[in-house]
């Protein structure tokens, strides 16, 4: 069996803020932008594992946790996809090339793409949830021969809310990938699926006892998908989800993100579904 290698992260100073310069900005949808950044202190690139996040600090505005959306084997470009929902994310989305912001990290756990070597891979993302799983997709595609069947299921609100549309077209054109896309509401030109993501799982072939599922999106979506995978015979221990709630310090100091004995920022954001099954989709974890 070929084991897919992966870079390990190296956060030596967990609270250290490093300057990063915005090198490119791409508008993905009406409220979401992707930023490319490069390290501006002459130091090492920010190496990360798929699923990890950084704390992005816009000087004078504030700091927020944002997942890394780029390719783990190209750490020279730090990529973040951000949806403008409030003060800090609006400020991030308004940044233009040449601006310098502060970055801490990378932090948190990662998608088990190495442990899943040799297995069938099922990736299900909803909305902005495609951003945190994109590094896992890059890793799996770069080591495609190390995995069995690979399926990507993505749900979005409307066709114009779909992220990474050019890349989705590339993925759809590959014969070694099963890509299923659906939207909640179509428009006059949309010829794809309309409806929730769950029924699309019917179109995936995988060996339930030899698969790994990576789920990222609204908590209700992750719960429904995990249940459907279990119905198809998949042990829920093989299902990973990403929790994106209440992170403030990002390093286990402040307690904001605590669930039971765990901290989302350190033990998560990627966790085993089994560990959070009874709390997923509840109003507050």
């Amino acid at each position: 069996m070929v084991v897919a290698p992966l870079i390990t992260d190296t956060v030596t100073e967990p609270m250290m803020l490093r300057p990063f310069e915005v090198t490119a900005v791409t508008q993905e949808t009406h409220d979401t932008w992707t930023l490319d950044l490069k390290v501006a202190d002459g130091g090492d690139d920010l190496r990360f594992r798929p699923g990890q996040f950084t704390m992005m600090y816009v000087f004078g505005v504030g700091e927020v946790p944002i997942s890394i959306a780029g390719n783990p084997s190209h750490p020279e470009t730090l990529v973040h996809t951000v949806r403008a929902v409030g003060a800090v994310t609006n400020a991030i989305c308004a940044l233009r090339p040449g601006t310098v912001i502060g970055i801490r990290g990378p932090y948190g756990s990662s998608w088990p793409v190495v442990a899943a070597t040799g297995r069938d891979i099922i990736i299900v993302a909803g909305g902005i949830g495609l951003a945190p799983v994109r590094p896992a997709i890059y890793h799996v595609l770069e080591h495609r021969e190390s995995y069995g069947s690979v399926s990507i299921v993505y749900g979005s609100r409307t066709p114009s809310d779909l992220l990474y549309i050019d890349e989705i077209h590339d993925w759809k054109s590959r014969f070694d990938l099963n890509v299923q896309i659906t939207v909640d509401r179509g428009d006059g030109t949309w010829m794809g699926d309309v409806g929730v993501v769950t029924p699309l799982l019917n179109r995936l072939s995988f060996d339930a006892n030899h698969a790994a599922a990576i789920l990222c999106g609204p908590e209700i979506m992750m719960r429904v998908i995990a249940k459907e995978l279990a119905r198809r015979g998949m042990p829920t221990a093989d299902v990973s989800v990403s929790l994106e709630r209440n992170v403030k310090c990002g390093v286990g100091f402040c307690g904001h993100c605590q669930i039971g004995a765990s901290f989302i920022c350190k033990d998560g954001p990627v966790v085993a579904y089994d560990d959070v099954a009874d709390r997923l989709g509840m109003e507050e974890l």
Binding site: G127, R157, G195, G217
Partner: protein, 151 residues
């Protein structure tokens, strides 16, 4: 038709006995339909139903002075057509194939005749319809939540 592979893949048939499933499968006719074809039109008699084996079908409805809009698409493993067993026995939607599709087609009159003579089979069919209707309702509720909007 041999539909055994669909017994596992489609949650609908989970509760059906082997005997009833085999009987239902014996009534199925395989049908291939090109993309862009209308399978049935809203408000016309619902005299058949389908199990989708391959491809995607759009369920459409037209609002007043608006072009038809796709409310939902159904794909492999889905039961297409619920209106054949319940009054007024008319389609609630227009169904149009999005791509070349393959179906197991069932003649509703044939299935209803079997339901009349075998109440257990009737029960099993009603459960399938209820299950599929429940599943669609659940999905539509989730769709209405606007999950991918700002949570």
């Amino acid at each position: 038709m041999n539909l055994d592979a669909w017994r596992e893949r489609s949650p609908m048939f989970e509760e059906m006995s082997d005997e009833h499933f085999a009987f239902l499968a014996s009534l199925a006719e395989e049908r291939e339909v090109p993309g862009g074809a209308t399978l049935f039109r809203v408000n016309t008699p619902a005299d058949r139903f389908y199990l989708v084996l391959e491809g995607t079908v759009a369920l459409k409805i037209a609002g007043p002075s608006k072009p038809p809009m796709t409310i939902q698409t159904v794909g492999e493993g889905a039961l297409l057509g619920l209106s054949w067993h319940l009054p007024p026995y008319r389609w609630q939607w227009t169904a149009e194939t999005r791509e070349p599709c393959r179906f197991a087609e069932f003649d509703a009159n044939e299935v209803l005749a079997a339901c009349e003579t075998d109440s257990d089979f009737d029960n099993a069919m009603l459960r399938i319809i209820a299950r599929e209707a429940g599943r669609r309702l659940h999905n539509v509720r989730i769709q209405l939540l606007d999950l991918y909007g700002r949570e």
